[in-house]
């Protein structure tokens, strides 16, 4: 596993790391101090313990010393066998001569000369104690005890093992707890981050708000972000309203201008000289495109504001195709493109919104017209299961997979081949219109060979929910 530099680590790792490292450090310090304390106090404790043992043995040997009973004294010292750490013991009489002796099996039979004062020392792996034996205040002898430090070593080994075990367990536990607790922080934060990314990509739904989970900094960020999204939404709404109002206001005058142009071309204002006719025809093309653009803007803004209404009725494919191609026969002929209709006249009945389906089909024909310079455009009607399908196939420039992927989104930046005109709203509108009609739009395309769009809407089933 590659170790990331701390600054690049995800927050959850940072938090876990911080918690685990800081708890480990405090644990280590505690363990160290504990061990240090043990190793410092242990010699004292061992000396004290040995002195206490000497006190007991000494008290019990007063009679033996007073009445010169070395056998009893010996049996008393022999009881030290029970303590495997006692190396040797010696009871001295008042002259300083050994009175009774004991050595652990395997130890050399050697005893130091008597020391009259109460002493205890810890050195060279041994604890040694000289203890004056008193009987009713009178000195009757001296007891010497020597113990190894095996008890201390055993205890230190045990302490070390326990420390390692406890330390390890605490480490794992802190890791577990930290990795659980960090979710409290990173969970809400990740939510905020994901949402920010969505909005930045332009995919987020501006009406949705983040859940504010707490009053901490993350909660504040979430709240500030919500406020920000709210303002963004207001701006977005204003934009949509503006587009809606403007396009609405423009639609009628442009339609009127177009009407007047038509009238003049039809000769209602008298004979036109060739130059006038040529200008007016140019104006008619521009006017129509303007009108389409305004209609598209209006439709898109309706979709965005969610105010699209649908009027589902039975309608024949024949009628739909007829309405859709009406305005395009002339331009197609002008470009020298061949329009082929297949299966259109078989009279399948669709259940759809007439205007929206026609608009969708028009958009597809319009696109095909723009993208195709030679060859043909085929409109094909067929039934697939319970769906009625209208296909628009061209022999135009086609698209690559990347273009197809973002074909139905608004604001897409199209490739060179499709920039010819329009605001790029056509397919966005078509997609949404199809959705409103319980239908769908799909596309297949091959670069350089052509594109095939496929509109699908439910077939009309008489008596099964039909509106007529």
């Amino acid at each position: 596993m590659r170790i990331l530099p701390f600054s690049d680590m995800p927050l959850k790792k940072k938090i876990t790391l911080i918690a685990v490292v800081s708890s480990s450090i405090s644990l280590l310090i505690a363990c160290f101090v504990f061990m240090l304390n043990e190793s410092l106090t242990f010699p004292k404790v061992m000396r004290q313990n040995l002195s206490n043992l000497a006190q007991i043995i000494g008290d019990n040997s007063t009679a033996a010393l007073s009445f010169n009973d070395s056998r009893t004294a010996q049996s008393l010292l022999d009881t030290l066998k029970a303590n495997p750490h006692i190396r040797s013991a010696c009871l001295y009489d008042l002259k300083g001569q050994p009175f009774a002796r004991y050595t652990r099996p395997g130890e050399p039979e050697k005893w130091p000369p008597v020391v009259w004062e109460e002493t205890s020392e810890f050195s060279a792996g041994a604890v040694r104690v000289f203890h004056p034996v008193l009987s009713a205040g009178d000195r009757v002898g001296t007891l010497y005890l020597e113990s190894d430090t095996g008890e201390m070593q055993t205890r230190m080994v045990n302490y070390t093992l326990v420390t390692i075990l406890v330390g390890g367990a605490a480490f794992l536990l802190s890791l577990l707890v930290a990795s659980r607790l960090q979710r409290q922080v990173t969970g809400p934060l990740n939510q905020v981050v994901e949402r920010m990314k969505d909005i930045a990509r332009g995919e987020g739904d501006l009406t949705k708000r983040l859940e504010v989970t707490g009053k901490d900094e993350i909660g504040e960020v979430a709240e500030a972000f919500n406020t920000f999204v709210g303002k963004l939404q207001t701006v977005e709404d204003m934009k949509l309203d503006l587009i809606s109002v403007v396009s609405h206001q423009l639609k009628t005058p442009v339609a009127e201008i177009n009407g007047f142009i038509e009238n003049m071309l039809m000769g209602l204002t008298g004979e036109l000289n060739p130059k006038q006719r040529s200008y007016l025809e140019e104006m008619r093309v521009i006017g129509r495109e303007n009108y389409r653009l305004i209609c598209d803007l209006l439709s898109a803004s309706k979709i965005d504001r969610g105010v699209v209404t649908v009027d589902l009725k039975p309608i024949s494919t024949k009628e739909v195709v007829g309405l859709a191609i009406r305005d395009y026969e002339a331009p197609l002929a002008q470009k020298g493109l061949n329009l082929q209709l297949e299966g259109v006249w078989q009279g399948a009945m669709l259940y759809a919104d007439r205007d929206k389906l026609v608009e969708a089909l028009r958009n597809l024909i319009n696109n095909a017209l723009k993208c195709t310079d030679k060859g043909s455009i085929t409109i094909r009607a067929l039934a697939e299961g319970d769906k009625g399908v209208i296909e628009v196939e061209d022999t135009g420039v086609g698209m690559d997979a990347e273009t197809m992927e973002r074909l139905f989104t608004k604001n897409r930046v199209l490739g060179k081949e499709a920039h010819r005109s329009g605001a790029g709203l056509g397919l966005y509108i078509t997609k949404n219109f199809m959705k409103y009609q319980n239908g769908d739009i799909t596309v297949t395309s091959e670069k350089g060979k052509g594109t095939c769009f496929k509109l699908a809407v439910p077939l009309f089933k008489p008596g099964a929910g039909g509106a007529l």
Partner: protein, 188 residues
């Protein structure tokens, strides 16, 4: 009198002869009765008398010697200026038992009954019955006759034979440590 030289004896005598914490006792030869005298004093440390056995809180401990005194000055030298648990120690000597000393004998804490009293032992013990007096003697079978502690001998070592039941009847409490170093007899 037998001369005993074992180091153990030196220790025991040192107890009585030298102050606590002393740096050891010079090697000397001690007589059997010096050792026995030291034992008499040592007994005091391992026996508890009932409160009524003392005249008052600071009352002295009385060691009585009935009959012929084998100790001479030794015992007096040992107890001179010595105190055990705040009580000084007195030595009282009695003539051979004739029945008139009973009250005084009963006031003793430790009574050494000399060998000379062998024939009068039954009467003496009868007279002391019920009194808190630790009876000590060299007379054979002393514990079996109702006495408490007998000095015995094992090789060169002076040993103790004890009848704890007799001591208990007299209201005395013997330390278990004393019993540990003694031969125990159960009396009649």
């Amino acid at each position: 009198m037998k001369i005993l030289k074992t180091l153990g004896f030196l220790a025991v005598l040192g107890l009585a002869l030298s102050p606590p914490g002393g740096g050891g006792v010079a090697a000397q030869e001690f007589s059997e009765y010096t050792v026995k005298a030291a034992y008499l004093v040592n007994f005091i440390k391992f026996v508890t008398w009932p409160g009524k056995a003392y005249a008052d809180d600071n009352g002295a401990i009385v060691i009585g010697i009935l009959g012929e005194d084998p100790f001479g000055d030794t015992l007096d030298g040992m107890v001179k200026g010595k105190a055990i648990e705040g009580r000084s120690i007195l030595v009282r000597r009695f003539e051979s038992y004739d029945g008139s000393q009973d009250a005084a004998l009963r006031r003793c804490h430790v009574l050494f009954i000399s060998y000379s009293e062998k024939d009068r032992l039954r009467d003496i013990l009868k007279a002391l019955q019920g009194s808190p007096v630790l009876t000590v003697s060299e007379i054979e079978r002393f514990p079996l006759s109702g006495g408490m502690i007998q000095f015995d001998q094992e090789g060169q070592r002076i040993t103790l034979a004890i009848n704890p039941a007799a001591a208990q009847r007299a209201g005395l409490t013997l330390s278990s440590r004393l019993l540990q170093v003694s031969k125990i007899h159960k009396s009649e």
